[in-house]
Protein backbone atom coordinates (compact mmCIF):
# COMPACT_ATOMS: atom_id res chain seq x y z
CA UNK A 1 0.00 0.00 0.00
CA UNK A 2 2.79 2.42 0.94
CA UNK A 3 4.55 1.76 -2.37
CA UNK A 4 1.43 2.76 -4.27
CA UNK A 5 0.99 5.92 -2.15
CA UNK A 6 4.62 7.01 -2.55
CA UNK A 7 4.64 6.20 -6.27
CA UNK A 8 1.50 8.29 -6.85
CA UNK A 9 3.18 11.29 -5.25
CA UNK A 10 6.44 10.70 -7.11
CA UNK A 11 4.52 10.45 -10.39
CA UNK A 12 2.83 13.79 -9.68
CA UNK A 13 6.22 15.44 -9.05
CA UNK A 14 7.91 13.92 -12.11
CA UNK A 15 5.01 14.74 -14.43
CA UNK A 16 4.76 18.30 -13.15
CA UNK A 17 8.50 18.98 -13.46
CA UNK A 18 8.46 17.62 -17.02
CA UNK A 19 5.72 20.13 -17.83
CA UNK A 20 7.61 22.88 -16.00
CA UNK A 21 10.83 22.32 -17.95
CA UNK A 22 8.83 22.59 -21.17
CA UNK A 23 7.19 25.81 -19.93
CA UNK A 24 10.38 27.38 -18.59
CA UNK A 25 10.43 30.07 -21.29
CA UNK A 26 7.46 31.66 -19.56
CA UNK A 27 10.09 33.05 -17.20
CA UNK A 28 11.36 36.15 -18.95
CA UNK A 29 13.07 37.90 -16.04
CA UNK A 30 16.56 37.01 -14.86
CA UNK A 31 15.78 36.92 -11.13
CA UNK A 32 12.83 35.45 -9.26
CA UNK A 33 12.97 36.52 -5.61
CA UNK A 34 16.22 34.77 -4.66
CA UNK A 35 16.80 32.51 -7.67
CA UNK A 36 17.98 33.18 -11.19
CA UNK A 37 16.25 31.54 -14.13
CA UNK A 38 19.27 29.27 -14.59
CA UNK A 39 19.22 28.20 -10.93
CA UNK A 40 15.51 27.42 -11.25
CA UNK A 41 16.10 25.22 -14.32
CA UNK A 42 19.04 23.44 -12.64
CA UNK A 43 17.02 22.91 -9.48
CA UNK A 44 14.06 21.42 -11.37
CA UNK A 45 16.44 19.08 -13.22
CA UNK A 46 18.13 17.98 -9.99
CA UNK A 47 14.80 17.25 -8.30
CA UNK A 48 13.56 15.41 -11.40
CA UNK A 49 16.61 13.12 -11.56
CA UNK A 50 16.66 12.45 -7.81
CA UNK A 51 12.96 11.75 -7.41
CA UNK A 52 12.93 9.52 -10.50
CA UNK A 53 15.67 7.46 -8.81
CA UNK A 54 13.38 7.01 -5.82
CA UNK A 55 11.08 4.79 -7.92
CA UNK A 56 13.95 2.33 -8.28
CA UNK A 57 14.64 2.52 -4.55
CA UNK A 58 11.02 1.69 -3.85
CA UNK A 59 11.10 -1.34 -6.14
CA UNK A 60 14.08 -2.53 -4.07
CA UNK A 61 12.35 -1.71 -0.75
CA UNK A 62 15.22 0.70 -0.11
CA UNK A 63 13.46 3.34 1.97
CA UNK A 64 16.67 4.45 3.67
CA UNK A 65 18.20 5.78 0.44
CA UNK A 66 15.13 7.98 -0.07
CA UNK A 67 15.33 9.10 3.53
CA UNK A 68 18.97 10.15 3.02
CA UNK A 69 18.12 12.33 0.02
CA UNK A 70 14.78 13.62 1.24
CA UNK A 71 15.87 16.66 3.30
CA UNK A 72 18.00 18.14 0.54
CA UNK A 73 15.21 17.76 -2.01
CA UNK A 74 12.69 19.19 0.46
CA UNK A 75 14.90 22.30 0.87
CA UNK A 76 15.23 22.72 -2.89
CA UNK A 77 11.48 22.38 -3.45
CA UNK A 78 10.75 24.75 -0.58
CA UNK A 79 12.99 27.41 -2.13
CA UNK A 80 11.43 26.94 -5.58
CA UNK A 81 7.98 27.26 -4.01
CA UNK A 82 9.03 30.52 -2.36
CA UNK A 83 10.55 31.97 -5.51
CA UNK A 84 7.83 30.90 -7.93
CA UNK A 85 4.74 31.57 -5.80
CA UNK A 86 3.52 34.18 -8.29
CA UNK A 87 3.74 31.61 -11.07
CA UNK A 88 2.08 28.78 -9.21
CA UNK A 89 -0.75 28.50 -11.74
CA UNK A 90 1.95 27.54 -14.29
CA UNK A 91 4.59 25.65 -12.30
CA UNK A 92 2.49 24.20 -9.44
CA UNK A 93 5.42 24.20 -7.02
CA UNK A 94 2.95 24.26 -4.12
CA UNK A 95 1.49 20.98 -5.39
CA UNK A 96 5.00 19.53 -5.83
CA UNK A 97 5.89 20.66 -2.31
CA UNK A 98 2.74 19.07 -0.90
CA UNK A 99 3.33 15.77 -2.75
CA UNK A 100 6.86 15.69 -1.35
CA UNK A 101 5.50 16.44 2.12
CA UNK A 102 3.12 13.47 1.74
CA UNK A 103 6.06 11.24 0.76
CA UNK A 104 7.87 12.48 3.89
CA UNK A 105 4.89 11.61 6.06
CA UNK A 106 4.67 8.11 4.56
CA UNK A 107 8.42 7.60 5.16
CA UNK A 108 8.03 8.62 8.81
CA UNK A 109 5.13 6.22 9.23
CA UNK A 110 7.01 3.33 7.61
CA UNK A 111 10.20 3.97 9.57
CA UNK A 112 8.26 4.31 12.83
CA UNK A 113 6.52 0.99 12.18
CA UNK A 114 9.64 -0.57 10.61
CA UNK A 115 7.55 -2.27 7.90
CA UNK A 116 10.19 -2.02 5.18
CA UNK A 117 10.48 -5.67 4.27
Amino acid sequence: MWKKDINENIDYIIKQIEINLNNINVLEKELYFEMSKKQIVDCFKKIFITVKKWKQYIDNNDIYSIQKEYKEIESDVSELELCLVEYDNIFHCEGISYSLHKIGNILIEILDNKEVD
Partner: protein
Amino acid sequence: MADDKPIIKATTPNSQKYDTKIDIYTNDPREEHESIHIAINSDDKSAHIIDTTNGSTEHSDVKCFLTTACMRHYYSNFNDNCYELKILRWFRDKFVDEDDIKHYYEIAPIIVEAINNEKENETIYSYIYHDIIEYCIAQIENKNFEEAYFRYKNCILAFEEKFARPFLEKKLVNVLKLSR
Protein backbone atom coordinates in the same frame (compact mmCIF):
# COMPACT_ATOMS: atom_id res chain seq x y z
CA MET B 1 -14.63 22.19 -0.59
CA ALA B 2 -16.12 23.82 2.51
CA ASP B 3 -15.22 20.75 4.58
CA ASP B 4 -11.54 20.96 3.60
CA LYS B 5 -9.24 21.82 6.46
CA PRO B 6 -6.29 24.17 5.95
CA ILE B 7 -2.96 22.38 5.56
CA ILE B 8 0.01 23.76 7.49
CA LYS B 9 3.59 22.56 7.10
CA ALA B 10 7.06 23.87 7.88
CA THR B 11 10.20 23.40 5.79
CA THR B 12 13.79 24.64 5.62
CA PRO B 13 14.24 26.40 2.27
CA ASN B 14 17.60 26.25 0.49
CA SER B 15 17.76 30.01 0.90
CA GLN B 16 20.54 32.49 1.65
CA LYS B 17 18.25 34.63 3.77
CA TYR B 18 15.50 32.49 5.29
CA ASP B 19 16.00 29.41 7.47
CA THR B 20 12.37 28.43 8.02
CA LYS B 21 9.27 28.61 5.87
CA ILE B 22 5.73 27.99 7.05
CA ASP B 23 3.27 27.10 4.30
CA ILE B 24 -0.47 27.37 4.81
CA TYR B 25 -2.83 26.11 2.09
CA THR B 26 -6.62 26.38 2.14
CA ASN B 27 -6.83 22.80 0.85
CA ASP B 28 -4.82 20.28 -1.20
CA PRO B 29 -2.57 22.60 -3.27
CA ARG B 30 -2.64 20.17 -6.19
CA GLU B 31 -6.18 21.41 -6.69
CA GLU B 32 -7.49 24.97 -6.83
CA HIS B 33 -6.36 26.65 -3.64
CA GLU B 34 -5.04 29.80 -1.97
CA SER B 35 -1.95 30.02 0.22
CA ILE B 36 0.11 32.01 2.69
CA HIS B 37 3.89 31.51 2.97
CA ILE B 38 5.89 32.94 5.85
CA ALA B 39 9.66 32.88 5.29
CA ILE B 40 11.53 33.51 8.54
CA ASN B 41 15.06 34.77 9.13
CA SER B 42 15.98 33.70 12.67
CA ASP B 43 19.16 35.80 12.71
CA ASP B 44 17.65 39.24 12.28
CA LYS B 45 14.19 38.11 13.48
CA SER B 46 12.42 39.27 10.36
CA ALA B 47 9.98 37.53 8.07
CA HIS B 48 8.65 37.85 4.57
CA ILE B 49 4.99 37.00 4.06
CA ILE B 50 3.55 36.06 0.68
CA ASP B 51 -0.22 36.01 0.77
CA THR B 52 -2.38 34.88 -2.17
CA THR B 53 -5.69 34.77 -0.28
CA ASN B 54 -6.99 38.08 -1.64
CA GLY B 55 -6.94 36.95 -5.25
CA SER B 56 -3.56 38.56 -5.92
CA THR B 57 -0.05 37.93 -4.56
CA GLU B 58 0.86 40.33 -1.76
CA HIS B 59 4.36 40.54 -0.32
CA SER B 60 5.08 42.11 3.06
CA ASP B 61 8.11 42.25 5.33
CA VAL B 62 7.67 42.15 9.08
CA LYS B 63 9.82 42.20 12.19
CA CYS B 64 8.93 40.90 15.62
CA PHE B 65 6.14 42.82 17.37
CA LEU B 66 8.36 43.86 20.24
CA THR B 67 10.75 45.49 17.76
CA THR B 68 7.82 47.00 15.85
CA ALA B 69 6.45 48.45 19.09
CA CYS B 70 9.83 50.07 19.79
CA MET B 71 9.97 51.41 16.23
CA ARG B 72 6.53 52.99 16.64
CA HIS B 73 7.56 54.45 20.01
CA TYR B 74 10.78 56.07 18.78
CA TYR B 75 9.75 56.80 15.15
CA SER B 76 12.71 58.33 13.31
CA ASN B 77 15.00 58.00 16.35
CA PHE B 78 14.58 54.23 16.39
CA ASN B 79 17.76 52.23 16.74
CA ASP B 80 17.69 48.44 16.44
CA ASN B 81 20.21 48.34 19.27
CA CYS B 82 18.18 50.54 21.63
CA TYR B 83 18.41 49.85 25.35
CA GLU B 84 15.07 48.00 25.52
CA LEU B 85 15.86 45.57 22.70
CA LYS B 86 19.37 44.98 24.01
CA ILE B 87 18.01 44.03 27.45
CA LEU B 88 15.24 41.88 25.99
CA ARG B 89 17.70 40.03 23.71
CA TRP B 90 20.04 39.44 26.64
CA PHE B 91 17.12 38.12 28.67
CA ARG B 92 15.92 35.94 25.78
CA ASP B 93 19.36 34.38 25.24
CA LYS B 94 19.92 33.81 28.93
CA PHE B 95 16.53 32.72 30.29
CA VAL B 96 13.97 31.91 27.61
CA ASP B 97 13.41 28.27 26.68
CA GLU B 98 14.55 27.39 23.14
CA ASP B 99 11.14 26.00 22.18
CA ASP B 100 9.47 29.22 23.36
CA ILE B 101 11.91 31.31 21.29
CA LYS B 102 11.26 29.17 18.21
CA HIS B 103 7.51 29.43 18.74
CA TYR B 104 7.74 33.19 19.20
CA TYR B 105 9.59 33.75 15.94
CA GLU B 106 7.13 31.55 14.08
CA ILE B 107 4.04 33.27 15.43
CA ALA B 108 5.36 36.88 15.72
CA PRO B 109 5.13 37.75 12.00
CA ILE B 110 1.50 36.64 11.92
CA ILE B 111 0.77 38.70 15.04
CA VAL B 112 2.45 41.78 13.49
CA GLU B 113 0.43 41.45 10.30
CA ALA B 114 -2.78 40.96 12.28
CA ILE B 115 -2.08 43.98 14.53
CA ASN B 116 -1.19 46.13 11.50
CA ASN B 117 -4.61 45.32 10.08
CA GLU B 118 -6.34 46.60 13.23
CA LYS B 119 -7.67 50.20 13.12
CA GLU B 120 -6.34 50.84 16.62
CA ASN B 121 -2.88 49.45 15.92
CA GLU B 122 -1.12 52.55 17.35
CA THR B 123 -2.91 51.98 20.67
CA ILE B 124 -1.99 48.28 20.61
CA TYR B 125 1.70 49.04 19.94
CA SER B 126 1.64 51.68 22.67
CA TYR B 127 0.21 49.04 25.04
CA ILE B 128 2.94 46.58 24.00
CA TYR B 129 5.63 49.19 24.59
CA HIS B 130 4.42 50.47 27.96
CA ASP B 131 2.74 47.42 29.49
CA ILE B 132 4.97 44.66 28.19
CA ILE B 133 8.38 46.00 27.15
CA GLU B 134 8.78 48.67 29.84
CA TYR B 135 7.26 46.34 32.46
CA CYS B 136 9.61 43.45 31.54
CA ILE B 137 12.64 45.77 31.47
CA ALA B 138 11.80 47.01 34.96
CA GLN B 139 11.44 43.41 36.21
CA ILE B 140 14.75 42.40 34.58
CA GLU B 141 16.53 45.44 36.04
CA ASN B 142 15.21 44.40 39.47
CA LYS B 143 16.31 40.80 38.81
CA ASN B 144 12.69 39.58 38.92
CA PHE B 145 13.44 37.27 36.01
CA GLU B 146 10.57 34.90 36.70
CA GLU B 147 8.03 37.71 36.60
CA ALA B 148 9.54 39.06 33.37
CA TYR B 149 9.35 35.61 31.79
CA PHE B 150 5.78 35.15 33.03
CA ARG B 151 4.64 38.45 31.47
CA TYR B 152 6.56 37.78 28.24
CA LYS B 153 5.15 34.30 27.78
CA ASN B 154 1.60 35.23 28.76
CA CYS B 155 1.53 38.18 26.39
CA ILE B 156 2.60 35.98 23.47
CA LEU B 157 -0.05 33.38 24.27
CA ALA B 158 -2.71 36.09 24.67
CA PHE B 159 -1.70 37.83 21.42
CA GLU B 160 -1.65 34.54 19.58
CA GLU B 161 -5.19 33.82 20.76
CA LYS B 162 -6.47 37.36 20.21
CA PHE B 163 -4.78 38.30 16.93
CA ALA B 164 -3.00 35.45 15.13
CA ARG B 165 -5.63 32.71 15.30
CA PRO B 166 -8.68 34.85 14.33
CA PHE B 167 -6.63 36.56 11.61
CA LEU B 168 -5.64 33.28 9.95
CA GLU B 169 -9.09 31.74 10.43
CA LYS B 170 -10.79 34.81 8.91
CA LYS B 171 -8.51 34.75 5.88
CA LEU B 172 -8.93 31.04 5.29
CA VAL B 173 -12.70 31.04 5.89
CA ASN B 174 -13.11 33.90 3.39
CA VAL B 175 -11.28 31.91 0.77
CA LEU B 176 -13.30 28.78 1.43
CA LYS B 177 -16.52 30.79 1.09
CA LEU B 178 -15.36 32.29 -2.20
CA SER B 179 -14.41 28.91 -3.60
CA ARG B 180 -17.77 27.26 -2.88
